[in-house]
Symmetry: C2
Subunit: 347 residues, 2 copies
DNA sequence: TTGACAGTTTGGAACGTTCCAATTATTGGA
DNA sequence: TCCAATAATTGGAACGTTCCAAACTGTCAA
C-alpha cells in the first residue's frame, strides 16, 4: 500500500527529462522523439503514475465530465435512458456524475450545484416533478449546455429530447378503434405533468376525430405505477357505461391494469383491450405480451448525450428540440391476436 | 450568457478583503468577523460565484467524489442497489461518478481508470462477470478504499457486502418441503458465477438435510433473465420424473418460469410451486404475487456506501465482509395460500 | 506609556498540470 | 565553415484554491 502520489515531476526526474516533455508525451504530441516517448512511457508504467485530470482542468478549464440527473432510476424506463447516455458519454471519453433526484426538486438542485462546483462541462437532466424554469436559469445563463430529456420544463429555452406522446397516443387509440372498440378510457398518470397532458390530448384528439365520446369521465388519473394501474382500473370497472378498452399512461400502469382486470376475472387481451406506453423490457415477455407505444428510451438517451456533446464541443450553440418518433408495437394485450383467431374461424 | 468565471480573487476585490478572508468565509471558519462574513456572502451571491472544488482538491488532495460502477443498470435489482448508494453518498455531501459496465470487464477497467484520474476518494463496485483480482489490484494497492457489492471477486482482499444466498436458498427449499413438495428443481442462472454457486449449494444442502434427491439433473442453468426462465422451465417440463416445484436463481427467472408454465396450461402457485430470489419491486404486484427471498438491494447499497465512507474517513482500515441477511417472503407463487384454502375446506 | 493578548486579516507559497517563449541539438545547403 | 531551417527539449508563469506564518487592530492591566 504505497500512498504517495507520483506526479509528472517524479516521472520527469526518473526518466531524465523535463516535466514539459512528460506532459507532451501524455498528450501524445508528435513533437517528441520516439525514443524519449518510449522511455517516458516505461517510467510511467513502472512508477504507477496516474494522471491528475483536475490539475489539468485547472489550467485549461475544459473538463471531460458531464452531469446526468434522473428523476427515478428505479423506473426501468429511466434506467434505460441512463444506460443509453452512459454508452455514448463513455465512448466519447467522458465520464459522468450521475445522480437520482427521486422526484425531489430540492435534492435535484443540490446535486446540480455540487456537480457544478466539481466542474461539469454539461448536464443532461430528466427533471423531477415540480422543476421550474427558475431552478435552472442560473446554470443555463452561465453558458453550460443543458439538455432536458423525457420531460420538458415550460418557459426554459434549452435543448430537449422528448418523445412524441401525442402521435403515439393517437396511434394507439386508432388501433383500438380498428379492433372495434367504441368506448375507450385513458388510465393512470398524474394529470399535472406535461407528459400526461400530451398523451391525453393525443387520446382525446383521436376519439374526437372518430366522432366518439372523449368526455372527462373517461380519463382516470392515478400514480404512474403498477399500484396506480390497479387502482385506476378498479374505478373504471365501477363505471356505469363500462369501456371495453383502455390506453394507459405508461407500461407500469398497464401492468397494474392487467392485474386488476384479472382479479375481477376479466382476461386482458381477450375480454378487454389494454395498451401501454414506453415499451419497457418486460412488455415483451409479460403474459399477455403488452401492446404498447415504443419510445426506445435507450435511443433517446443516446440522442440526448450526442446532442449535449455536440454543444459542448461547439463553443456556442442554439437550443435544439428533438422529438423522438414513436411506434405502436402490437402484441397480445390489445386483443388483436384474439381477433385474428376469431376471423380465421368465421372465414 | 456571461462566460467569465468568477474566482475567489474577484470576490475578494469586490468585497474589499483579501482572498484568504474569502477562503475562510467559504469554509465557515469562526475566525472571521460577522460583518465581514455577511459582506462577503452578499458579494458571492451578487457575482454568482461558484466554488471550484477541483482547485481546492489540488491543494488539499481529499476529494468528495466516490465512484460507483454497476454491472447492469437495466436490471432493477442493481438499479435499486445504485439508488441505495446514491442516497447515502448524497446525504454525506459527496457526489458520485456512476457508470454501467454492461457486464464488460474491459469497459469496467476503462471507467475505473478514468474515475481514478478524476480523483475519486473510493469505489463501490458491483463487478462485471469475469472480473479478476488482477484487474483491481493496482487500485487496491494504491490505498483507495474499495467495496465490492452483490458479487465477490475471489482472491481479492477488499471489503464486500453480499447477501446470504446459501441461507436464503435453504430457507426457500425448506418452505417448499413444508408445503409437501418432494421433488424440487433449481432453475436458471449461469453456473460459473459465485452467486449461482452459493444459492445452488443452499438448495442442495437443504434437500440433502431432508434426505431427498439433490442430483445434477435437478439443476437447470440458463441466462439469469426472464427469457432464460422460460427456457429453463421448458426443459424442466420435458423431464421424465417431473418436479412439482422450483427455486429460481432470481426473480427474473421466476417470472419467466411462470410465463413458461402458463403457456403449458400449468398455473403457477396452484399446480406448481415457484420461488424467486431478490424480491424486485414487481414481485409484490405480479400475478401471482411472487414468493421470493428478499435481499433488500437498496439496503445493501446503503450499507455498502456507509462502509465505503467510513473507510474513506478513517485514514487506514481493515477489509470488512458484510453479509446481508435475507428473508423468505411468502406470497402466492409457492402455493402456500392455496394450501391454506384447501386446509380450510377439509377442516 | 508599554506590553500582552485576543480577535481579525493578509501575503505568498504550494498543489499538479499546460502552454508559451526560449533554448539547444541536428541537419543540410551554400 | 557558417547559416538557416528543422527537430526536440525546457524553464517558468499560470490556473483557483488552501494554509501557514506574520501582521494588524483594539483593549486592558501594569
Amino acid at each position: 500500500m504505497k500512498q504517495s502520489k507520483v506526479t509528472v515531476v517524479d516521472v520527469a526526474r526518473a526518466a531524465g527529462v523535463s516535466k514539459s516533455t512528460v506532459s507532451l508525451v501524455l498528450q501524445g504530441s508528435s513533437l517528441v522523439n520516439e525514443a524519449t516517448r518510449a522511455k517516458v512511457g516505461a517510467v510511467i508504467r513502472e512508477l504507477g503514475y496516474v494522471y491528475n485530470r483536475s490539475a489539468a482542468n485547472l489550467r485549461q478549464s475544459k473538463s471531460k465530465i458531464v452531469g446526468i440527473v434522473v428523476n427515478d432510476l428505479t423506473n426501468s424506463f429511466f434506467a434505460e435512458l441512463a444506460v443509453g447516455m452512459d454508452m455514448v458519454v463513455q465512448s466519447a471519453g467522458y465520464i459522468q456524475f450521475m445522480a437520482n433526484s427521486a422526484e425531489n426538486a430540492d435534492r435535484q438542485a443540490e446535486v446540480i450545484a455540487s456537480m457544478r462546483e466539481h466542474g461539469m462541462a454539461g448536464l443532461i437532466l430528466s427533471p423531477a416533478r415540480g422543476t421550474t424554469a427558475a431552478d435552472l436559469r442560473p446554470l443555463v445563463d452561465s453558458g453550460i449546455p443543458v439538455v432536458l430529456v423525457a420531460r420538458n420544463v415550460p418557459g426554459l429555452k434549452v435543448s430537449s429530447v422528448v418523445s412524441d406522446g401525442h402521435a403515439g397516443a393517437a396511434a394507439a387509440v386508432r388501433h383500438l378503434l380498428e379492433l372495434g372498440h367504441r368506448r375507450i378510457a385513458f388510465l393512470g398518470g398524474f394529470n399535472d405533468t406535461a407528459v400526461f397532458d400530451e398523451r391525453m390530448r393525443g387520446f382525446r384528439d383521436a376519439l374526437v376525430e372518430a366522432g366518439l365520446d372523449a368526455s372527462d369521465e373517461l380519463v382516470i388519473s392515478s400514480a404512474p405505477s403498477r399500484a396506480g394501474g390497479v387502482a385506476a382500473v378498479e374505478r373504471l370497472l365501477a363505471m356505469a357505461d363500462r369501456p371495453t378498452a383502455a390506453l394507459c399512461f405508461n407500461d407500469a400502469v398497464a401492468f397494474g391494469a392487467c392485474d386488476g382486470l384479472r382479479s375481477a376475472r376479466i382476461e386482458p387481451g381477450v375480454d378487454f383491450g389494454v395498451i401501454g406506453f414506453d415499451d419497457v423490457i418486460e412488455a415483451k415477455t409479460a403474459v399477455p405480451a403488452l401492446t404498447t407505444v415504443s419510445v426506445d428510451p435507450q435511443g433517446m438517451g443516446r440522442r440526448a448525450a450526442q446532442l449535449l456533446l455536440k454543444q459542448i464541443n461547439a463553443g456556442s450553440f442554439e437550443p435544439e428540440a428533438l422529438v423522438a418518433s414513436v411506434r405502436l408495437v402490437v402484441r397480445e394485450s390489445c386483443g388483436a391476436a384474439q381477433r385474428m383467431k376469431r376471423e380465421a374461424v368465421t372465414a
